[in-house]
Symmetry: C2
Subunit: 288 residues, 2 copies
């Protein structure tokens, strides 16, 4: 189902004068519309209620009420953010725009996620002798570190390797029952592929967080496909880090649940030592 703002974009050219006023109101004060009656909206726009009804119809809604619901649905992040799509450089708009990108990346990742693959991957990780998290470059090395960070707290032996030479060397030490979790946003990293190849030779299972149908994925036993379009504005960052972080979070949570009491005990220990050393309230989050 198309969202109401893109419909507005389409029909904007053949809108009448009063309707254009309403369009402006919609874009600028969606939060007002959502919480007001048709009379209030009409008054605020300086038009009559029937005009508002007609405007809703033109936007493909059956009634004013269903129009309001549609507006509320796109305006998930606090309706004010609707204005943020523009190419404005005002700090407020940039913040809103980044938030929307973040939300979209996470939602899309969830929607396209192969839950079954993730669940199988968590199974494999849960029973691993050693988990080696491989990644290089901005996002991927962050993810490798984060994966290691999360897994060791659950009581799993895990390491993070973000250097290609070290990846190759580490891979050579693995054996059957060990697992490599490899992240690659591009899916093209040749040196990573070589390291995975080496790991497989020695019996390790390879789980890849990467774009499907690319060399890294081809080398994996289980691929958790993450495929996001990159933005064009070079000054604005790619959103893939949120997608990858979400999947890492998910894998770690799955593993924690599968391991149950074992993980709980391990987390308790980590937390205990940490609060001992820091003299801190036990309620603090794990590890600052």
């Amino acid at each position: 189902m198309r969202d109401i703002l893109s419909v507005l974009q389409d029909v904007e050219p053949d809108l009448s004068k009063s309707e254009r006023i309403l369009a402006t109101l919609l874009r600028g004060e969606a939060d007002f519309i959502v919480n007001a009656g048709i009379t209030d909206v009409a008054e605020r726009a300086g038009v009559s209620p029937p005009t508002v009804t007609r405007f809703c119809r033109r936007l493909g809604c059956e009634s004013f009420t269903s129009f309001k619901v549609q507006v509320a649905q796109v305006a998930f992040a606090g309706t004010r953010y609707l204005q943020a799509n523009a190419t404005s450089v005002a700090p407020r708009d940039v913040a809103d725009s980044l938030l929307i990108q973040l939300q979209e990346a996470a939602t899309k990742t969830r929607e396209t996620l192969d839950i079954d693959a993730a669940s199988r991957a968590a199974d494999v990780i849960s029973n691993a002798g050693l988990v080696a998290a491989f990644g290089a470059g901005g996002t991927s090395s962050m993810i490798a570190d984060e994966m290691q960070n999360r897994l060791f707290r659950l009581g799993l032996r895990s390491i993070s390797v973000t250097d290609h030479a070290m990846q190759l060397m580490q891979a050579a030490t693995l054996s059957h029952g060990d697992v490599i979790v490899a992240s690659s946003v591009s899916g093209l990293n040749q040196q990573l592929v070589r390291a995975l190849e080496a790991g497989k030779t020695y019996g390790a299972t390879v789980i890849a967080l990467t774009r499907p149908d690319r060399p890294v994925s081809a080398m994996a036993d289980i691929t958790i496909a993450i495929d996001l379009p990159e933005g064009e504005n070079i000054l604005r960052p790619s959103t893939s880090r949120y997608a990858y972080l979400y999947v890492t979070d998910l894998l770690a949570t799955f593993v924690a649940m599968k391991r149950g009491e074992e993980s709980r005990e391990s987390l308790r220990r980590v937390k205990h030592q940490l609060s001992n050393s820091r003299d801190e309230d036990d309620k603090e989050a794990l590890g600052d």
Copy 2:
């Protein structure tokens, strides 16, 4: 403003029989409710319209209509996710629940963000001689690394220091015009506070990403306050990493925009060298 599902969570204990039926309907078929009239909802639940009105009131809504709008607002990502709040351990529900937590963390961060402070921080960073990103522990050290990672690409001299002894030593080398960007989720990290103190002694400006009204914040020239409640389930991770990552993203983007052409050129160079060495498509994201 609290979202309607967390309100439901709270009031669920003192709900009557009919209201419980409605609660189930709300969680399971929010998309139906959103597109139906009060009569349809009443019929589907097998109760009378006034009961539905009373249910809405109990959830803090003034009318059925405003109730629908509230439901529509939380049901942003395909209403299916509403069911995820439960304590289910089904992979699908866990994935949905994590997504909701992520979205909420990011949205709340945006809503409570002091844009002005962030903008001033970006100004200071843009003109820094050296930017030292300090952080220790799971989230904070990730953020320090990410901050460094983002800033060096923009052509700023920056380093990441995630070890307390090194932080203290590094702080001692700073001078007027240098900047420390310190992350601390708890805001209590005493060793970090000491390092900041040292840095300030030598003239460095301190920007803190942390909880307000705590020791780390007290030491900062500019505090970007991030204050999220931590979840209770020890097996499920804290969501603060998304909040901090979002703020880091934002700061880096602000800096990039303030520096404009300078940053664009630097990014171009980084990208150029990377694609040269990797023989990759120039369209790939920066740094895998």
